[in-house]
């Protein structure tokens, strides 16, 4: 492997580039014209533009990506996350084209991509899954089975992921209608209308385990991450290790993850997601067959470059680590900076990156693909960048993250930086009293206050005084006399 094509954009493309460079590998990025001035394109050794009707379509155009790989002489393709990362057909096409796909084999992607089959396989291997019922052609039987799962329950799309297509049903009366809606949505979003239901665990934590497997049947885990702070099933804040696990719980969880990897014949980096009930029980959720957005927290505590490990695994090399070599040190947090307005229901915002000053300091890492002048549109996901903070313990990591968020200057597009800082400052977050509805539960506390008092005066002063002519238009002595009347 000499030259790797990155079939992605934004922060993850830049992230992968950095590792390629340290490993002495050449890089090619593909991009839509809208990203022509992006950081990834600027930093890559080569860039290939893909013409497409929409910006997103460019990153989903398998034929064009393969053509770009051929023309640039790349011998491997890293898909990043999202887009084609978990598309088995793409992985297959890459391999057919004689290139290396940096990820699991298509067979594994396909198996784990079907959430229904994945659950069955995991359950067969003897790992816990939530009580569930799977859609079948016999709608009446399915409905009955679903009722037996008990309420509240969660309806999910078989082909879904990342929280899309999920709905909570709290009463039997609503079930049938909700199932119909879910099927329609699944059909529209994934071209696969199959759904399944599972027991909805109240106040669960979302804990996942990073796994790493080579082509030689070696499987190990890099510890867990907790991603319970979510909004509409989208992770907002992730951390490693999970703050409340006992050593025994951690061991069981990680061993289950490795067992599942072994059971499915996993290769490359992946993530096994679990639902962790307040009772201490955990249930398998799904396996993400790719690099996760939140992988940096694992990197920060283990000191392992996950992208480098992915590339080595893809090259067919055996793992360079044994399980006992993996030692977690301290605590790491990641927050996702998104182009959204916390003041109006987190609706997406657009703009132009007018000013960007990434924060620094001990343990602070800024993963961004942004550069000044870049337009932020609704063409892509709203995530702008990630901020990662590492500390000797959780409290220090939180303190560093809060300071980093205050130090981050990202102007031109409204974002959730101040909101994240507020979440991290909440006492319930400090005491790690987390669950997947944390943000809803504390919504009132977390609402950002508007500018008032001296802060407002300071803000208005900055806004007004930046125009040097402001105040220069009223001449003396009028200016100094104030609102004098005779």
């Amino acid at each position: 492997m000499k030259k790797v094509l990155i079939a992605n954009r934004g922060e993850i493309a830049v992230r992968i580039l950095r590792t390629l460079r340290t490993m002495g590998l050449e890089s090619v990025v593909v991009h839509h014209a809208a990203d022509a001035a992006s950081l990834a394109v600027r930093e890559a050794d080569e860039a290939r533009e893909i013409a497409a009707a929409t910006p997103v379509a460019a990153y989903l155009d398998v034929a064009a990506i393969l053509a770009a790989a051929r023309s640039s002489g790349a011998d491997a393709i890293h898909p990043g996350y999202g887009f084609l990362a978990e598309n088995a057909d793409f992985a297959e096409a890459v391999e057919r084209a004689g290139l290396t796909f940096v990820g699991p084999p298509p067979r594994v992607i396909r198996l784990l991509g079907d959430k229904i089959h994945a659950r069955e396989r995991v359950a067969r291997a003897g790992f816990p899954i939530t009580p569930s019922a799977t859609d079948s052609s016999d709608r009446t039987a399915f409905l009955r089975a679903a009722r037996e799962v008990g309420f509240p329950l969660l309806v999910k799309a078989a082909a879904g992921g990342g929280g899309r297509g999920m709905r909570i049903v709290r009463s039997p009366d609503a079930l049938e209608a909700e199932l119909e809606t879910a099927r329609r949505e699944a059909e529209r979003s994934f071209q696969d209308g199959r759904v399944y239901v599972e027991r909805y665990v109240e106040r669960p934590r979302h804990i996942e385990v990073q796994i790493l497997s080579d082509a030689h049947g070696n499987h190990l885990h890099l510890g867990e991450r907790e991603c319970s702070v979510q909004r509409r099933f989208q992770k907002i804040i992730e951390e490693a290790p999970a703050p409340v696990l006992t050593a025994a719980q951690r061991r069981r969880l990680c061993e289950a993850a490795v067992g599942i990897a072994r059971a499915v014949g996993y290769r490359n980096a992946g993530t096994v997601e679990f639902l962790f009930a307040p009772s201490g029980e955990f249930y398998f959720l799904e396996v993400n067959t790719r690099l996760q957005v939140e992988h940096p927290v694992t990197e920060m505590v283990t000191g392992i470059d996950l992208v480098a490990e992915q590339l080595r695994a893809a090259m067919g090399e055996p793992l360079s680590l044994r399980q006992e070599d993996v030692v977690a040190r301290g605590h790491a947090l990641e927050v996702r900076l998104c182009a959204e307005d916390p003041g109006s229901g987190h609706t997406p915002t657009t703009g132009e990156v007018a000013l960007l000053r990434a924060p620094g300091g001990p343990g602070v890492r800024f993963d961004g693909g942004l550069c000044e002048g870049q337009a932020v549109t609704t063409s892509f996901d709203s995530m702008l960048a990630k901020l990662i903070a590492h500390g000797a313990d959780r409290a220090q990591a939180i303190a560093r993250m809060r300071q980093a968020l205050r130090d981050l200057v990202l102007l031109g597009v409204a974002h959730n930086g101040a909101y994240l800082e507020r979440v991290l400052g909440h006492p319930a977050f400090a005491s790690a009293d987390l669950h997947t509805h944390f943000l809803e539960q504390h919504a009132a506390d977390l609402a950002l206050p508007g500018a008032a008092g001296p802060d407002l005066v300071t803000l208005l002063a900055a806004a007004v005084l930046v125009d040097p002519s402001a105040g220069a238009d009223v001449p003396e002595p009028y200016a100094s006399m104030g609102e004098w009347r005779n």
Partner: protein, 535 residues
């Protein structure tokens, strides 16, 4: 420049009594100003509300740059005329900031007789436009007037300084390159129609604004045509068809905002380059002025104590401190502007007159504006002084003062009597602005003397008719004469008749003069030249 060392004992009985007296006078002034500005019969306010019109004071605050001063002129005009029923002569005039430009504002007050123009209204308007001409100040007119008050037309129409003068002044301003902006928020009828028409820019409010030579009733009477005010001269007609007005506005606030935007386009004047400095407040508290001005006009006081509370840092460079000491002359600064001050410390003698004439010439050549602080009973009389040529020395002072090319400003601090008024730049000598303090008196001679002279004549006349009068009868003759004389020499009478540009609370004098000085620098100073001095 040396700081004046005040000799006032602020704990003395005299000071405290003066203070009580003068504060009472100021309270009275404030009360009367407040009434003129805000007290209106409810029905007039209701009528304006019904017509969706703002009160003139609200219009003003929308127009002016917030946080900036407004020097209102002749607030109490007509306070002793028309049975006191035309407060402010139905006009608001003054100097203020609009979009960072120094402008004269002239506004009709429709809450007073529908904004009708009385003779003193016309005088006030002409005066405002004179100020604009002399100081090259753009004018913003807020037009809402029923036109000339017909029953008094003989006193406002035909003479040189009557209504025609308003339009003549508008043309003069335009010819000088000084623009005017008219905001038509009500009717501009008959002559009033020329105000927007003669303005460089005009804004008119749809619905309430109208401009026509003859209103609907007059048109009906003249030609039988029945037409509404809006059809006859409304916003759309004038901004779309006739071109009489420039900018349509949907509301008064919008009209005023447009006018502000227009003014923001006007070029800023180049100020006459005089040696200004950073401003500095007086070292002595101006509030102490109340304790310094005596209760009686005939009680003498040191004008330096007044100067110390008007000028920057209370610093005063006194010229000829040992000569002609009844006229204090010297240099100082007001809000950073250099001024030459002439202030009366007693009757004018030959030496003080010569000193004054000489100092005026110095200021003209030094390009220093002149400030006259009047407290003057006149020039000295008597054989000795006539023999020394007091009349020709006084004439020299008048000649020098009248021939001045630097701007002049006058404040009548206390008495202003006889030819002293002339030498010290009274109204007739075109000071750019002339203010009066409320206890001031102004007449050809002091009230007591004048009443004495007048009653003496009357008594002699009666005696010639063979009647001999007792002390009581003489007093009965004398009293009404004194009363009438006092009334017509009071500051309130002066300001009612627009002999001044307004009564000032003494502590406001410094700001008023600073604004006046700032305005005066819009007009270049001519080269010094004088008439013939009699030596």
């Amino acid at each position: 420049m040396r700081r004046i060392q005040s000799n006032v004992d602020t704990r003395s009985e005299t000071f405290l009594e003066n203070q009580r007296h003068n504060r009472r006078l100021i309270d009275e002034l404030r009360r009367r100003q407040e009434e003129v500005r805000f007290r209106r019969p409810q029905r007039d306010i209701d009528r304006l509300t019904r017509q969706k019109k703002l009160l003139v004071r609200d219009r003003l605050s929308l127009l002016l740059d917030p946080g900036t001063p407004f020097l209102e002129l002749s607030t109490l005009a007509a306070n002793m005329a028309y049975d006191g029923e035309v407060p402010g002569a139905g006009q608001v005039t003054g100097i203020g900031m609009v979009a960072g430009r120094e402008v004269v504002i002239r506004a009709d007050d429709a809450s007073v007789k529908g904004g009708a123009w009385y003779p003193l209204s016309v005088k006030k308007i002409v005066r405002a436009l004179d100020i604009a001409i002399e100081n090259r100040l753009p004018v913003v007119h807020i037009c809402d007037s029923a036109g000339g008050f017909l029953p008094l037309q003989a006193d406002l129409f035909a003479d040189r300084y009557y209504a025609g003068r308003m339009f003549r002044n508008q043309c003069a301003l335009s010819k000088m390159g000084v623009p005017q902006v008219a905001i038509v928020v009500g009717h501009c009828t008959a002559g009033g129609a020329y105000i927007p028409a003669l303005s460089e820019y005009s804004v008119i409010v749809r619905g309430t604004g109208a401009i026509f030579l003859g209103g609907p009733p007059l048109v009906k009477a003249a030609t039988g045509e029945v037409v509404t005010a809006d059809e006859l001269g409304g916003c759309d007609l004038h901004t779309q068809v006739s071109g009489t007005a420039d900018y349509p506005a949907a509301s008064e606030p919008e009209a005023i905002a447009i006018a502000r935007d227009v003014v923001a386009q006007l070029r800023r004047p180049t100020k006459t380059d005089i040696d200004t400095a950073d401003a500095e407040p007086p070292a002595y508290d101006p509030e102490e002025l109340y304790g310094i001005v005596p209760r009686e006009v005939k009680v003498q006081f040191d004008m330096r104590e007044i100067i110390a509370r008007l000028v920057d840092g209370s610093r005063f460079h006194e010229y000829q401190p040992a000569y002609g000491t009844t006229l204090v002359c010297g240099f100082a600064r007001i809000w950073g502007y250099p001024v030459g001050i002439l202030a009366n410390n007693g009757v004018l003698f030959n030496d003080s007159s010569l000193k004054g004439a000489h100092f005026i010439e110095l200021c003209n050549h030094n390009r220093t504006p002149l400030v006259f602080l009047q407290n003057i009973t006149g020039y000295m009389v008597g054989r000795e002084y006539e023999a020394r040529g007091i009349t020709k020395d006084g004439a020299k002072m008048i000649m020098a003062q009248t021939g001045s090319v630097v701007p002049k400003f006058t404040v009548i601090v206390n008495g202003s009597f006889g030819a002293g008024n002339y030498g010290m730049c009274g109204r007739a000598y075109d000071p750019r602005l002339l203010f009066m303090w409320p206890q001031g008196q102004i007449s050809v001679m002091g009230g007591e003397q004048a009443a004495g002279v007048l009653s003496e004549i009357k008594v002699r006349q009666l005696e010639r008719e063979g009647r001999s009068l007792g002390a009581e009868e003489i007093a009965a003759i004398r009293e009404p004469i004194v009363e009438e004389y006092t009334r017509r020499s009071s500051a309130y009478y002066s300001t009612s008749e627009l002999w001044d540009d307004g009564l000032l609370d003494p502590v406001d004098t410094r700001n008023a003069l600073a604004i006046a000085l700032s305005c005066s620098l819009n007009t270049p100073f001519a080269d010094p030249s004088y008439g013939v001095f009699r030596f």
